[in-house]
Symmetry: C2
């Protein structure tokens, strides 16, 4: 696939976002199409982003007492049927193993589409008293949901994620925990991925199969379409009853546990790519970029190289992820393009003038701005610029989201917006499934969430004009 | 399963190793049986060991330029057939997905038993010039090889591992890389898991399906049986030819790459458990123990608790993984047993005397030795003891291996040893498959490796008396 393009010859983002997205992922070597339909390969440059995200999120989990574990890939088919809504939601997407070790299996095994059922079967064996609670377990694993068409990172048959699954004594505690997961996700999106998400409650139709309430993290993309970027579920006692996870409570009576589950997947890398890149390629937020600064010596001169190495060592000691590009088979111009394509936040150019004057020319990837720093100031300057780029990317995305969130009071405007610029629409909705379905059919826009920040007010449903209490967020979605 | 035992009531290791092994894993909550036959659940306390091992190994890989990536779980069945030996070796163990998204698939998908084929198909697309080499990629993932009976950690249908896959310009470079992987594994086993392994070349019959040469890391267990603890393969150009991974070399001619693959799995946790535990339970090597020191206050007295917290904070600042056990529902004796069962290297007891005198009573898990340390010396003392326990465990295992490695010159002794105390046997072998098969049938002992340290000498095959050049290592194996 990637051989069809000359290096760096990518479609302009401003001309065709979807094509640009595919080009930039393949050319920057974040990922590639796998030989199996619907699957992808995450290449080292893309996987490094996932590793950084994982590291940050994992620390947040552990700080709050969540422990990692590993549960089996295969789930007996009968388990999925124990929670009625759950099997209804997932059955069209299942991959089934029917042959193992050369023999036909008596019961097919499901390749996990999510692990509620297999985990909760174990929970029912482990939990017997309130002293065993809360159970706070997370796993980092691979998930399979059948897809025929691959949308790199955004929709693939197999993907990587984390899935947290907790069990508590009461609904108050579990409800709070479901919200805590949202805080972690907000933190990752805002402070690391530099994306401004909207967080809120999903409608009945859009909630997780088996949950009481689903909370969604929604990210608006430059196409004006929304991306479901993470979810957290208040499962109530639905699974606890289906899997008999009961415990003796403090007053000696039998009760069922209250549960949550919450997940964030490699999809977030797709969000990151789309939100920040430009015609030249990726722009990676410094906090999760694999390489934060690349040093490009202008000529393979020994003095220049020595000075470059000195700068590199100094930055490394400062904890900055820096690369020195001394490949002799590539021209300087080629290197500039390559690292721009790959979205490295800062480029440090070192030529004769720089070496003689003990200065470094720094180029920002986000603004293209060029500046010079003295050798003794370079660490502080690079730190400052990385912080500024991180902030700038977030502010730019936030501005974009706010500018593309439309408060709409009539259905005609709703339709107009959804056939032109798109974006988020805030509108009253009576919460009937009929209206939701009607709007979706006519505008392709679904309810995304009822934002956490929305207050109850009196209004009229944008579709049927019946009394409504909340502004819901609508958008077309990936 | 675990409910059948009273807490800490485990079979004595000295009486029944196999039963002890199962008991201790279940009771210390390292793992549990999964609902699907042949599978297991790795519980948080066991998974934390894997996380520590992973962290250390991953750093070693990265230091040498190996990058992590992720390749798909599903492999087209036709891919496995491309390398003849490979499919022959793996076909009895495959799990096949035949239904996806509600439809019968035209070609079954194999759930990866190892990833050579799917990775090398991608390598053939990515590599075209010597400038693209070497490719040094690793992945941490889950693997499926069909098993009907579970042996916790040692033999399960699904397991976790890392698989490294490299491609090089010539055989000299790839051969060296295969050996480098062995160094990493030796390092992990000796310096972290405190296990003294024997490393060497596998016989033709025992080598990886598709490799030129396989190198094995073999660990002797207290049962006198060996455990294959990691492997590294010199794949030559076998897969390169099957998957057409060719490149233009430095003189402009087309050549096939030379490859290696190497892996270490969660099996190493089984080795660790078996090698070090005693009648009281696990003994974890400090470097990879999740908790290195547990503080048990003798009474829930406020002064005692305050002093305990002070000690905890001090040790944490020193980077020691410490836990303060203040559970009020458990007695002190129960806690002592629990943490012994769980193999925590050091127990710190703090009662009235300790609090009054500003001292701590320290108990070593490996020797049971009790000693006292003044508050101001506690950090140094704990560090020293952890280092000593780590060393002591390794020395003990090394001693055991050396004492149970028998240089044998006649087949009668060979048979006697294998029906009594077992262990490693060093014996001349003519390298014919017939002798190897004969020995195995009559003694259940297979060739394990030709140790790297063996020199060529003249001798006679232990089985057929024909001229032989090397002492091979034989053992019964898990």
């Amino acid at each position: 696939m990637s051989l069809k393009f000359e290096k760096n010859q990518i479609t302009k983002k401003s001309l065709d976002l979807e094509k640009w997205y595919k080009d930039v992922i393949l050319k920057a070597e974040l990922a590639d199409y796998a030989p199996v339909k619907g699957c992808m390969v995450i290449r080292p440059y893309g996987y490094a982003l996932w590793e950084n995200i994982k590291k940050e999120l994992d620390q947040m989990f552990k700080k709050e007492g969540v422990e990692n574990a590993y549960f089996p890939l295969f789930i007996p088919y009968s388990f999925l049927k124990k929670e009625k809504e759950h099997i209804k939601g997932f059955s069209p997407e299942l991959a089934l193993v029917t042959i193992g070790g050369g023999e036909k299996l008596s019961e097919p095994l499901v390749v996990r589409p999510t692990s509620e059922t297999v985990m909760y079967d174990m929970y029912s064996r482990w939990i017997s008293s309130y002293r065993d609670l809360p159970v706070l377990i997370n796993q980092w694993n691979n998930i399979v949901r059948w897809e025929k068409r691959t949308y790199l990172f955004l929709r693939t048959t197999e993907f990587l994620w984390q899935e947290g699954h907790t069990a508590h004594q009461d609904h108050d505690e579990s409800g709070k925990f479901a919200l805590k997961a949202l805080d972690w996700y907000r933190n990752i999106y805002e402070d690391y991925l530099a994306i401004y998400p909207v967080i809120g409650q999903k409608s009945k139709k859009e909630k997780f199969a088996g949950a009481l309430t689903t909370w969604g993290v929604e990210a608006l993309m430059p196409s004006g379409k929304a991306l479901q970027a993470a979810t957290s579920h208040d499962l109530g006692q639905n699974f606890a009853k289906a899997f008999n996870i009961s415990f003796q409570n403090k007053v000696g009576r039998k009760d069922f546990v209250w549960q949550t589950s919450w997940g964030l997947s490699t999809r977030c890398i797709g969000a990151l790519v789309m939100a920040h890149g430009d015609d030249q390629g990726l722009i990676l937020p410094p906090k999760i970029a694999f390489i934060q600064a690349v040093i490009v010596p202008i000529r393979p001169d020994e003095n220049i190289l020595n000075f470059s190495r000195e700068i590199k060592t100094g930055l490394e000691q400062e904890g900055i992820r820096v690369k020195l590009d001394i490949r002799e088979t590539k021209s300087v111009g080629w290197k500039f393009n390559e690292w721009e394509l790959k979205g490295v936040p800062l480029r440090l150019e070192i030529g004769e003038k720089e070496t003689a004057g003990k200065i470094v020319t720094i180029v920002r990837r986000d603004t293209g701005e060029k500046l010079k720093a003295k050798k003794e100031k370079i660490k502080i300057e690079v730190r400052r610029l990385l912080t500024e780029i991180q902030k700038n990317l977030f502010e730019a995305h936030k501005k974009f989201v706010l500018e593309n969130t439309h408060l709409v009071t009539d259905y005609k405007s709703f339709k107009e917006i959804m056939t032109s610029k798109k974006g988020f629409i805030k509108a009253f909705w009576c919460e009937s499934e009929d209206c939701e379905a009607g709007i979706k059919q006519e505008t392709k826009a679904a309810t995304r969430v009822l934002p956490l920040t929305e207050k109850k007010v009196n209004g009229k449903c944008i579709y049927c004009s019946k009394p409504s209490s909340f502004h819901w967020l609508f958008a077309q979605a990936y």
